[in-house]
């Protein structure tokens, strides 16, 4: 009985990863990207997460949102999370991104929150220090053949660890297509930044 429980606990605590070979790969039905290096992929609530050294060190997330979707999901019916709107300008997408992070980083003790949240933006919900979120250099960038945008961001984790990120996206057919790469400022963000830049440049919009 005890061993069954241990196995169940282990299964529950593990995320299942599969290999992503260095080749072109579809992200949903709207676009594809090509990677020059192999990654490991996991599924976080329907979000593709790619990592090489582990998601806490560096991760690239592929987020697709429809009008009215939230960046984070809550099992709490009444949770007041910001919603993406299809009419948003890139400035408003950044505002939505920051507000979403702030809305799930309310405090030090995140136990309750972590249980109820899926966290597609590369950050464990509640693990960041909201006051330190900083976004810079919002600028235009072609997302394949679509007009797009990108921006840089940084924040401290609640333990004081510096994290850095870049996001690259576009709004197409009313959907927000966003790739978010983040990692520790010390070593791991830079380690695969060029690989991520190559992925950003490889976008091909399928329809």
């Amino acid at each position: 009985m005890t061993s069954i429980l241990i196995v169940l606990v282990l299964i529950g605590g593990c995320t299942h990863y599969t290999a992503v070979p260095a080749q072109r790969r579809a992200i949903g039905s709207l676009y594809s990207v090509k990677s020059n290096v192999a990654w490991s992929q996991a599924d976080e609530g329907g979000i593709q997460v790619w990592t090489i050294d582990g998601p806490l060190l560096q991760a690239l997330r592929f987020v697709t949102l429809n009008d009215g979707d939230t960046l984070f999901r809550s099992y709490e019916k009444d949770a007041k999370l910001p919603r993406f709107r299809a009419h948003m300008t890139p400035n408003e997408v950044v505002e939505f991104f920051v507000a979403s992070l702030k809305s799930v980083s309310g405090g030090v003790d995140t136990h309750q929150l972590a249980k109820g949240m899926v966290h597609p933006a590369g950050i464990r919900a509640g693990s960041i220090n909201a006051a330190t979120i900083d976004v810079k250099n919002l600028r235009p960038a072609d997302f394949g053949r679509l007009p797009g945008f990108r921006f840089d961001f940084s924040f401290l984790s609640k333990e004081g660890l510096e994290r850095q990120g870049i996001a690259f996206g576009s709004i197409h057919e009313g959907k927000l297509l966003l790739m978010v790469y983040s990692g520790t400022r010390e070593y791991y963000f830079d380690k695969h930044k060029q690989d991520v830049e190559a992925i950003f440049s490889s976008v091909e919009v399928m329809k």
């Binding site: 809550s74 949770a79 309310g106 405090g107 030090v108 003790d109 250099n137």
Partner: protein
Amino acid sequence: MNRCKISLFLLLFCAVCVSCATPRGTPGAMDDIQPSQRPDSSSDEAGLWMYMDRIENRLKTSGRVVSDPELNAYVRQIVCKLDPVHCADIRIYIVDTPHFNASMAPNGCMQVWTGLMVRAENEAQLAYVLGHEMAHYLRRHTLQQWRTVRNTSSALAFFSLATAAAGVGFVGSLAQLAALGAIFAYSRDQEREADDIGFEIMAKAGYEPVQASQIWGDLLAEEEAGGKLAKSVFFATHPTTPERIATLRDLADKTAKTRDSWTAGREEYLHATKPFRKEWLREEVHKGNPNGTLVFLNRLLKDQGDSAEVHFFLGELYRLRGEKDDCENACSEYQKALDLGNPPPELYRSLGVVCLRMGKTREACDSFEEYLKVNPDASDRQIIESYINRLR
């Protein structure tokens, strides 16, 4: 016989002392906490303190504490004015979060949230809330509550709620907090007692008595406008009723005559909080309770007169809410801010975004150009230029 008389005298003397120490009896009432007092290490109270000490340590490093020395010194001097005797035992943490709350842990860790500070109209209002919280501390209400629930299935919930109420839980879980709040909520008797003591010490310090009922009433109005989602963290653990507000108003009427002059400390308060207000208002409009925030911002306009900054944030609120007619409402508020002069520079960018949404491309272009003119070093210059190029 003499020994018997002496014993009787001592017994009576002791009884008088106890009744002095517990002037206001609530069920389960205990002695007031004394200056520098720490609980006996083998007591349940020590266990409660130890738990709160751990929470306090995490709060210190959370990064949410406003460290500005002047603002901290300002709030501390209010606390010391209210209770010079216990002042040294109290550690104050100003916590950067847009929700209205203040709390006092049994170990002397006091939290004042910026959502309260931005709402208080003057020093007297803040002093009343701080006095109310200090009353819970002085009367050891948390310990009383703990002893009430520790033998029930609610004991675990008590700790999780104590954590949340101490401000270290996730403030987004308001619905959960509100639902479970009844367990941790101080009893009505304790709330009345805290009202009485809070009122008494603020009046003794010379603060205008009417401000006590005023801040409760304003918060209640905001909460009613915001509906279920606007349930404040504070009211979840401090159920406030119209009856208690009326009682405070009656008390103010009676007390007002006992002194020639009172102070609201309005100028001092606005001066001390001025450097932070813009950022606090920005957090407020992003809080996700537009109807409650609308009531608050309109009250601010009424209280402080026309202000370009407040009109700008009203515009931001409408822009973010995005309901029917909100584009027009936002434009109207931005225009009022412009008419008053010296608006926040980012107004032009927001106005451009709203105009774009309304299909007014020429006006949008003009606003974006104005934004770059007043913000030559804007970090988002390139994207704004791309809007202009696309629209022209």
